[in-house]
């Protein structure tokens, strides 16, 4: 009987110490801020975000609390990711644009954040809502070209500032708001953009071909002119002989194939000697 009773008592003792230790000590990693709640009431914050504190100088590590009375809620200390769903924005010149934005934020006041919304998920939801409506409002006031242009960054700064004011009530600081994508919606707007690109290219192709033909014609014309000049230079020395010379060439060329019938008069110069008369 005693054999079994004693080890059980020891085990219970060990267990009690374990429970007590785990209820007293807790470790806070560098990536978290811990809110210590005493019976549900926020008592203090351990390892709260401090922009100046270096890692290693923070309050992270092993920390003591009052066992059983106090419990700990961890809140992320890092820069968190807020990816918003795509939304369609209508610019002032009535063109649709699909905008995909993201923000980076940090919980700088964990207690306020815990009391207002409770969890990180809820913070994200609340911020996404604020940011989405802010984005739509601000972007909807811009012409289409401005949404694509570098001016966008100042626009983003304005949005960030105005969202930050609202985010502060959740204990959150928005570090950055950026447009990840700003695209034409698929369907008619995209197709018409393609059509415009195609027509622009078709025009370019036509221009290139026409320009090529023009160049070619100029080259030919210049060649014709050069040739004429050469001929004129050579033949102009004796136009009469040229006429004769060229006629001879033309006769040879014309009657080359021998299918013609020639009717000659005996008075023809070729037949001048034919009749044997000497008319010299």
């Amino acid at each position: 009987m005693a054999l079994t009773r004693n080890p059980i008592a020891w085990l219970i003792g060990v267990f009690a110490i374990l429970v007590l230790a785990s209820a007293t000590f807790y470790s806070v990693p560098e990536t978290k801020q811990a809110i210590v709640l005493r019976l549900g009431k926020p008592q203090r914050i351990v390892n709260a975000y401090d922009a100046k504190a270096k890692f290693g100088d923070t309050d992270a590590g092993l920390v003591v609390k009052v066992p059983f009375l106090e419990n700990v809620v961890y809140i992320d200390k890092r820069v968190l990711d807020l990816d918003m769903p795509q939304q369609t924005v209508l610019s002032t010149d009535q063109r649709l644009l699909v905008v995909d934005a993201f923000a980076r934020f940090r919980i700088i006041d964990p207690q306020r954040m815990y009391q207002t919304v409770g969890t990180e998920e809820n913070v994200k939801e609340a911020l996404a809502r604020i940011l989405a409506s802010r984005l739509r409002n601000e972007l909807g006031r811009q012409p289409f070209a401005a949404l694509l242009s570098p001016e966008r960054s100042t626009l983003m700064d304005d949005i960030q500032q105005s969202v930050n004011r609202q985010a502060a009530q959740y204990g959150v600081a928005i570090l950055d708001v950026r447009i990840k994508r700003a695209d034409l919606p698929t369907g008619a707007p995209l197709d018409s953009a393609y059509a415009r690109m195609k027509s622009a290219r078709a025009q370019q192709a036509l221009t290139i071909r026409a320009e090529g033909n023009k160049q070619a014609q100029l080259v030919r014309a210049e060649a014709d002119a050069n040739a004429a000049h050469i001929y004129a230079d050579a033949f102009g020395r004796d136009p009469q002989f040229y006429a004769f010379y060229r006629a001879m060439q033309a006769y040879r060329e014309t009657f080359k194939d021998g299918t013609s019938t020639v009717i000659l008069s005996p008075n023809n110069e070729f037949l001048h000697e034919f009749e044997g008369r000497s008319n010299k």
């Binding site: 054999l3 004693n6 990536t31 290693g56 694509l148 242009s149 002989f241 040229y242």
Partner: protein
């Protein structure tokens, strides 16, 4: 956890010493509670907080008992002796493995004590406090990672609006490495997703400033470099501890839907070059013919000048001879005869295949 913590606090001693001092302090009967303390199953009559003197006694007794009891009540007490050294040896090995670590050449080790950052150590062999107290995370600082940012052929991720409101199909990769391991670990919740999003934002911002022709062609490298700088700036504002090494634009084309039109432009350029080349060929040929004819004429004319009458006559007769020898000839005295020209026959003859006209010529 607490048990191991205690082991450490009484560093020099074996597991027994640590366990016992703790047990005594907490006043419970849980003295030999360390993992090797399962042995004493025997009842201890004087269990309970009876003071330190009793405790040493108790310890000795329980160790004796341990030796005696473990082989299952068999008489041979000598068989039980190795248990303590084995336990110490196991503990030593455990201590060695958990209190030391090696950092490979390409790594940096981030040491944390209960989650608190202690230091970043370089390559080599290092000591730390045992397992649950100090934890070490290795980060590959030398390794260059590459993130592909493209959603496959024609995916919407690849299509971007350029500054001149055209659409470009672009695929690129970002090369990065960890610059500062502790920032990388502690500052960003999702470093890799952040790189991805920052890359997209930076690329779109740059493409939004460029024209389509620039982005497709000459300014690609410049755009990539600007994207890299912009990414680095943004990540630095997040204190991400990331070094963006480079952005590689793998593909920057017009979208597939308009590719034909773009191809037609390059075809048009080829066509234009072709037409111009043909015309140049024509020009060369024409020039050569003209020069040849002129030279020929000059040569003949030089001879003609020497004896104009004779040369002219000779040329005429030679030409006529050559011409008239091949054709049908009819000599008619004008005026004397009423001329009847058998045109029908002439035309029929002309229509005949080539050997046919030869026959009448030869017949003559």
């Amino acid at each position: 956890m607490p048990a191991q913590f205690n082991n450490d606090s009484s560093d020099g001693g074996g597991p027994w010493g640590g366990g016992n001092s703790n047990g005594g302090g907490s006043g419970g009967g849980g003295g030999p509670k360390s993992p090797w303390g399962e042995g004493p199953r025997r009842p201890t009559p004087n269990r309970g907080p009876t003071g330190r003197a009793d405790f040493d006694d108790f310890l000795r007794k329980s160790q004796d008992r341990l030796r005696g009891s473990l082989p299952g009540g068999g008489g041979g007490g000598t068989m039980n002796i190795p248990w303590l050294p084995i336990a110490i040896a196991i503990f030593g090995i455990w201590l060695f493995f958990t209190a030391t670590y090696r950092v490979q050449a390409q790594d940096r080790a981030v040491v944390m004590r209960f989650g608190k950052f202690i230091e970043t150590t370089g390559p080599g062999f290092h000591f730390k406090l045992p397992a649950p107290i100090d934890t070490v995370v290795m980060k590959k600082v030398e390794q260059i990672n590459s993130v592909d940012i493209s959603g496959g052929e024609g995916a919407s991720e690849n299509l971007m609006l350029t500054g001149d409101q055209n659409i470009i199909d672009i695929a690129y990769a970002v090369r990065w490495k960890i610059k500062n391991p502790e920032l990388f670990m502690f500052e960003l919740a999702e470093p890799e997703a952040t790189i991805h999003e920052v890359a997209e934002a930076a690329m779109r911002a740059e493409i939004g400033r460029a024209t389509l022709n620039d982005a497709i062609g000459p300014q690609r490298a410049q755009i990539a470099e600007q994207v890299r700088q912009r990414m680095q700036e943004i990540l630095d504002t997040y204190r991400a501890g990331i070094d963006v090494r480079g952005v590689d634009i793998k593909q920057a084309d017009p979208p597939p839907a308009v590719k034909d039109a773009f191809n037609d432009v390059s075809a048009a350029q080829q066509d234009a070059v072709q037409v111009i080349n043909q015309s140049k060929g024509y020009a060369q040929q024409l020039l050569a013919v003209a020069q040849g004819s002129a030279a020929q004429f000059d040569a003949v004319y030089a001879q003609y000048k020497l004896a104009p009458e004779v040369t002219r006559k000779r040329m005429y007769l030679e030409t006529m001879e050559s011409v008239l020898s091949k054709v049908d000839k009819t000599v008619i005295e004008p005026g004397n005869v009423q001329t009847y020209l058998p045109l029908a026959e002439v035309q029929r003859r002309r229509a005949l295949p080539s050997p046919a006209p030869a026959t009448p010529v030869q017949a003559k």
